[in-house]
């Protein structure tokens, strides 16, 4: 078991460090940091390399150590950026055109590189990003098992209730959604696995690379990557006969109409939305209507105070089913 974990960690290291320019890569490989704690590597042309490690920000030193002194920091050059971009895109920027328009490139392993530079704007949309000068490599760490404590509330043993996960940004809703998808797909406890369809418009759930999800989304999961949610839901219902459809960050009228259609087809819907409470959602124009219709049977609200902490679970009438501060991210926090 330990050997497998070690092998997986080495592979992850290779995936992340492998995209760095040769000089920087060698220094990172020399560093004896715990890779599991490494969260971000920020690269800006002419500026020091910054790393986010165990929730703290450090400069990356010229000798390969994490430090707090700017004078010891490694300065990132334009040539290194160009080399890094070559590796990130497999020497093929054209192949990532659509992702670049959205401001990121997904790496094998589900790691994500955020890009910034000069934006070319045409016909009310981003045409491309030229002169990319800023990169943010965000290292993916899955939290498997984080949905364990809420599954009894959103699953009756035979089918999944229509469930809406409500959370402020960066509070772990996609991680939670991914784990629910995985457990529903593989089966959990005595519950059999189900066919799950996922519409991953922004590649955040599966973090697909060349069409293959890099995160564990379960053995009975079909994933549409980069597809608009409303169209994707229709496509999945018509073509893949799923028992559950999962989507991230709903909000538009088209999304709500598609969800209604899916529900009428007898498919359970699992969705996430930005917000801090059910009351707040009721005030929003489109989502408010959806809540009034009582389309969803369960509302799971995540806390804004701590990443991955579930605040409460409500049923469709707004009755509290489970309360306060269920910690779902014990592993992550540990």
């Amino acid at each position: 078991m330990q050997k497998i974990q070690k092998k997986e960690r080495r592979m992850k290291e290779k995936q992340v460090y492998g995209v760095l320019a040769v000089g920087l890569r060698k220094l990172f490989q020399k560093t004896n940091c715990c890779f599991e704690m490494l969260q971000e590597i920020r690269l800006r042309v002419g500026e020091p390399v910054l790393v986010k490690y165990a929730g703290q920000e450090y400069f990356f030193g010229r000798t390969g150590e994490f430090c707090k002194e700017l004078s010891k920091a490694y300065l990132f050059t334009k040539e290194e950026l160009s080399e890094t971009l070559n590796y990130i895109s497999n020497y093929s920027m054209y192949a990532f055109e659509e992702q670049i328009k959205k401001g990121y490139i997904t790496l094998p392993g589900g790691h994500r590189v955020g890009l910034a530079g000069r934006v070319l704007w045409e016909n009310q949309a981003v045409k491309n990003i030229r002169h990319i000068s800023f990169l943010n490599i965000r290292i993916a760490h899955e939290v498997t098992g984080c949905a364990d404590c809420i599954l009894p509330y959103i699953h009756d043993g035979k089918r999944l209730y229509h469930t809406l996960l409500i959370s402020p940004p960066c509070c772990g809703k996609t991680t939670l959604l991914r784990d629910i998808i995985r457990q529903c797909s593989d089966g959990f406890g005595r519950t059999a696995g189900m066919n799950v369809g996922v519409v991953d418009e922004r590649s955040e759930i599966g973090a697909s690379y060349a069409g293959k999800p890099q995160n564990h989304v379960g053995c009975r999961t079909d994933l549409l990557d980069g597809c608009p949610k409303s169209e994707g839901m229709m496509m999945l219902v018509r073509a893949m006969s799923p028992q559950v459809i999962a989507v991230d960050e709903i909000g538009s009228r088209e999304d709500v109409e598609a969800i209604e259609y899916v529900m009428n087809c007898g498919v359970s819907v699992l969705a996430t939305v930005h917000g801090s409470s059910v009351e707040e959602l009721k005030c929003k124009p489109v989502l408010g209507e959806m809540l009034q219709k009582r389309m969803f049977q369960r509302y799971v609200v995540l806390s804004a105070e701590r990443i991955g902490q579930i605040e409460s679970v409500f049923d469709e009438r707004g009755s509290l089913l489970a309360g306060h501060k269920m910690c779902i991210a014990a592993k992550a926090a540990g």
Binding site: V22, N86, N90, Y91, S92, M93, Y94, A95, N128, A210
Partner: protein, 171 residues
């Protein structure tokens, strides 16, 4: 008897050189045809599936092609991620490849330029660039095919005449 054997050896040697020259020209045509086919394949794949160059090199290397060795070397060089742009890796690998020796200098120049222009631009520019180089290669191919049969006859004629002349001189 020895003189006759000597004559035959000189004659056959000259004929051999003539056939080698024909073979080189035939190989050049074969290579240019294959390069044109490969560029068409690249255009199709980039346009339809938007595959990365690494993936394309891998696919080209697994097919039955005269230049298979080149594609395999390209794939492993790209996977090494050891510095250098795509154009530099392409040119270096192309220079080291034995098969490229059958091409003329101008053919090789076109191929080097293809490498310099691959992977750096957006999809439509990429496709347009490949199209431009495909047309250039096609012109070279047509010219090579046009003069092949003419040159083939000349080579055989020169080979036979030279062989005969040198043989007679040594007799």
């Amino acid at each position: 008897m020895i003189k006759l054997i000597g004559f035959l050896m000189i004659f056959l040697g000259c004929l051999g050189i003539a056939f080698y020259a024909i073979e080189r020209k035939a190989r050049r045509i074969q290579l240019l045809e294959e390069w044109e086919e490969v560029l068409l394949y690249l255009q199709g794949e980039i346009s339809y599936s938007g595959c990365s160059l690494l993936e394309l090199m891998c696919r080209l290397g697994s097919g039955q092609r005269v230049m298979q060795g080149f594609w395999k070397k390209m794939e492993s060089a790209l996977l090494e991620k050891d510095g250098g742009s795509f154009g530099q890796i392409w040119e270096k690998t192309l220079r080291e490849d034995v098969m490229t020796g059958f091409l003329e200098e101008q053919d090789r120049e076109i191929l080097y330029h293809i490498g310099k222009n691959l992977g750096q631009t957006d999809r439509s520019t990429q496709l347009h660039t490949i199209q431009v180089f495909r047309e250039r290669l096609h012109q070279r191919l047509e010219a090579a095919q046009g003069e092949f049969y003419q040159k083939k006859k000349v080579c055989i004629a020169v080979g036979i005449t030279t062989g005969m002349m040198l043989g007679i001189l040594f007799l």
